[in-house]
């Protein structure tokens, strides 16, 4: 009997499907956090492989910052409809009003920190006991430390010193009432792995991932930010027309574009193989505030 050959993408896929099914088996009220970005789109493809011909045993949940790219929201709604799965949207705008939160100030008023409030409200509203997310350990050094099943207390807090040992592929999701588990099925994937999987599976993506002309603001760092109505610009800001694409699709006030002509997934992979700057380094303005920026936000309940 010849031994079948599985390459690394097959193995990563099998691991992720196994994790998704463990969530379905262990929790009463799980949810899949779905932003319309490439990582969460890959999660929906993996969920199809894990649960079809049945329905997903969890709804898709989007925490809408109100600063999203319209192309991404359109794609989000179309994909949910195509999958025939339930989509729950909760908005940061509502949370700000309800909790009388202060809108972020500055020229680039990112609502990323406020997302945590809406996420925790949504978890409470639906009593979610597990939230599946598309975070990857290669994104950031604090993420590299996180388990695949990450237990959070009732305030959503992560305590890196008190993480449960995670042994073999035996995932312990037992929690007390009020706690929840954040589950990261593609923890072991890198940005390149995600793109290679998208290529292999021929997965459709929002248009902003591909090169397109866009009016941008040039930041002092040299990064390009797509012009949008939330930015508070002054006359010194340089406005340019550039051919760009996005490597991530977060809050449009803090997600920079990269110059690129890439028209296909093959082009993007070729781009990526030459890229010398990490995904977050290239695109996120809010991780660089301090060395422990991500760790501190995660401790407070951020994804």
């Amino acid at each position: 009997m010849s031994t079948p050959h599985f390459d690394y993408l097959d193995r990563l896929e099998a691991e992720a499907i196994h994790i998704l099914r463990e969530v379905a088996g262990q929790f009463e009220r799980p949810a899949l956090l779905f932003s319309g970005g490439k990582d969460s789109i890959v999660l929906t493809r993996l969920a199809e492989k894990a649960f079809r011909p049945g329905r997903f045993p969890f709804p898709l949940v989007h925490v809408d910052t109100g600063h999203n790219f319209p192309e991404v929201l359109k794609f989000r709604d179309e994909l949910a409809a195509e999958l025939g799965e339930k989509l729950i949207v909760r908005s940061v705008e509502d949370t700000i009003k309800r909790q009388r939160l202060r809108e972020p100030g500055g020229k680039f008023p990112s609502r990323n920190p406020l997302q945590t409030y809406t996420l925790l409200e949504t978890i409470e509203e639906f009593q979610f006991d597990a939230c599946i997310g598309g975070a990857r350990r290669d994104e950031e050094k604090a993420r590299a430390k996180e388990r695949i099943f990450s237990v959070r207390d009732e305030f959503g807090q992560w305590d890196p010193k008190r993480q449960r040992p995670e042994l073999w592929n035996v995932y312990n999701g037992r929690i007390q009432k009020g706690e929840n588990v954040r589950v990261f099925p593609i923890s072991n994937w890198t940005e390149l792995d995600v793109w290679r999987y998208i290529q292999r599976e021929n997965i459709a993506l929002p248009s902003i991932y591909f090169g397109h002309p866009r009016t941008c603001v040039v930041l002092p760092s040299g990064q390009l930010l797509g012009l949008n109505e939330h930015l508070r610009l002054d006359e010194n800001d340089e406005i340019v027309e550039r051919q760009v694409r996005f490597r991530t699709v977060g809050d449009s006030t803090c997600t920079a574009a990269v110059e690129s002509d890439a028209a296909t997934i093959d082009d993007i992979i070729a781009d990526l193989l030459l890229a010398k700057v990490s995904e977050r380094g290239a695109t996120r303005l809010d991780d660089n505030i301090s060395e422990a920026g991500m760790e501190d936000r995660k401790r407070n309940g951020y994804f």
Partner: protein, 425 residues
């Protein structure tokens, strides 16, 4: 391209984090922005402190030590690697077990000035207990002992005694300097007397994943799929992952622990029926009979030598601050099966220095002990030696949900191997 998971272990300050930083750096896997952040930090040696690439927590950077496991990734044209950077401190041994449990290979780092120390023995024991098959003895900081061949030879000889005692299957010794990059990616002129492969060359050539595919077929049900829709009114699929071996359509199977028999009607991968599937694929299995199966049950070919047991002997690493005493009731999580159990006896404690066994009354944090475990419902198990997937379990606190121990089945008591029922017409 295939995948190799490896762990680095060794004592504090042996240079594990520096070694990983060096592997990432020299294989061109560090982004410029990440590097720029490092270059802004003051360092002792006047060069970039590569250890900071892995010590991702505030407390780790403050104390200059690794507290928790970090996972790092890099790819060469030949292979994708997942590195598990495990802490060296004795009090974080449980985190080392966490890292070792998924590794195919262990790099045991030794400081050339110190030679083999207690942590070398402890970590080699743990790596060997969890069944790692490939070992690299990386003798680091060779530059600090004048790159002397005799120093290396002495350490290799000392380690041979450990390898012999633990019956380590494949040990390769490589002299390196993680700080200078000697023999990490390329072979170094500084160590011209050494004729073997560089560390990376070796990591690229070790065979990956062989045992799971050659072991007997094992499959455990994670989730029952019943769409109950117009298109699929009677569909019942058992979703799970093939833990080892290969399954084929038409296989006669036992459903365990109940002992019912049936035949595999279909194996589905991504909604397509396939003739066969093998570990580690995630599949859906459908059976010809309407049998009662739920999450945690196993489906194995008739004739399998798997045991159905309500009492097992196991080696565990105790991971809780509160000691374990005989009589403790807890939960056994054996992949997707969870059953209540009682630790009926602690039979011995392993001395991590001598590897000898001694009698003990309790297990303290980080102790490796033998236990006897009685379960409320039967477990469907192999010995860990026979099968790393089905011989492994964790112990869980019923109230807090905390993971208390990593367990490996040594032997089954009062167990039976299911026999074919035989078909009557």
């Amino acid at each position: 391209m295939d995948l190799l998971r490896f762990i680095t272990c060794g004592s504090v300050d042996d240079g594990k984090s520096t070694l990983i930083g060096r592997l990432l750096y020299d294989s061109d896997s560090v982004s410029l922005d990440v590097l720029a952040a490092l270059e802004n930090r003051p360092t002792v040696h006047g060069t970039v402190d590569l250890a900071l690439l892995t010590d991702g927590l505030r407390a780790e950077r403050e104390q200059g030590i690794t507290i928790d496991v970090a996972y790092k990734y890099f790819t060469t044209p030949r292979r994708k690697f997942i590195i598990t950077d495990a802490p060296g401190h004795v009090q974080y041994t449980r985190n080392m077990v966490t890292g070792a449990s998924t590794a195919d290979l262990a790099i045991v780092l030794v400081d050339a000035r110190q030679g083999v120390v207690e942590q070398t023995r402890r970590h080699s024991l743990i790596a060997s207990l969890v069944g790692i098959r490939y070992f690299v003895l990386a003798v680091n900081k060779m530059d600090l002992v004048g790159n002397e061949e005799s120093v290396f030879d002495q350490i290799v000889a000392d380690y041979a005694a450990i390898a012999d005692q633990l019956k380590l299957p494949n040990v390769t010794a490589i002299p390196i300097s993680a700080l200078l990059g000697d023999n990490i990616v390329a072979r170094s002129k500084n160590l011209g007397w050494y004729t073997g492969p560089s560390l990376l060359e070796h990591l690229e050539s070790v065979p990956a994943f062989e045992e799971a595919s050659i072991a007997e077929p094992r499959f455990q049900v994670q989730f029952v799929i019943r769409p109950q829709t117009e298109d699929y009114p009677d569909y019942r699929g058992y979703a799970g992952r093939i833990q080892s071996g290969e399954y084929r359509r038409g296989d006669r199977v036992h459903i365990l622990p109940s002992g019912q028999e049936s035949v595999i009607e279909a194996i589905e991968v991504d909604q397509r029926e396939v003739e066969s599937a093998a570990a580690p694929q995630a599949v859906i299995i459908r059976l010809t009979d309407d049998v009662d199966i739920s999450r945690g049950d196993s489906i194995v070919p008739v004739g399998s030598q798997i045991h159905v047991a309500k009492e097992v002997e196991a080696t565990i690493c105790w991971m809780d601050e509160r000691p374990l005493w005989p009589g403790r009731k807890l939960l056994v999580q054996h992949h997707s099966a969870v059953v209540k159990a009682v630790v009926s006896a602690i039979t011995y404690k392993v001395n991590v220095r001598t590897y000898g066994r001694a009698a003990t009354e309790s297990a303290q944090l980080n102790d490796i002990v033998g236990i006897r475990l009685k379960t409320a419902a039967p477990l469907v198990v192999d010995s860990y030696q026979q099968n790393r997937a089905t011989g492994a379990f964790i112990l869980v606190d019923e109230l807090s949900g905390d993971t208390l121990a990593a367990g490996m089945v040594d032997a089954m008591q009062n167990s039976f191997v299911p026999e074919p029922l035989g078909f009557t017409i």
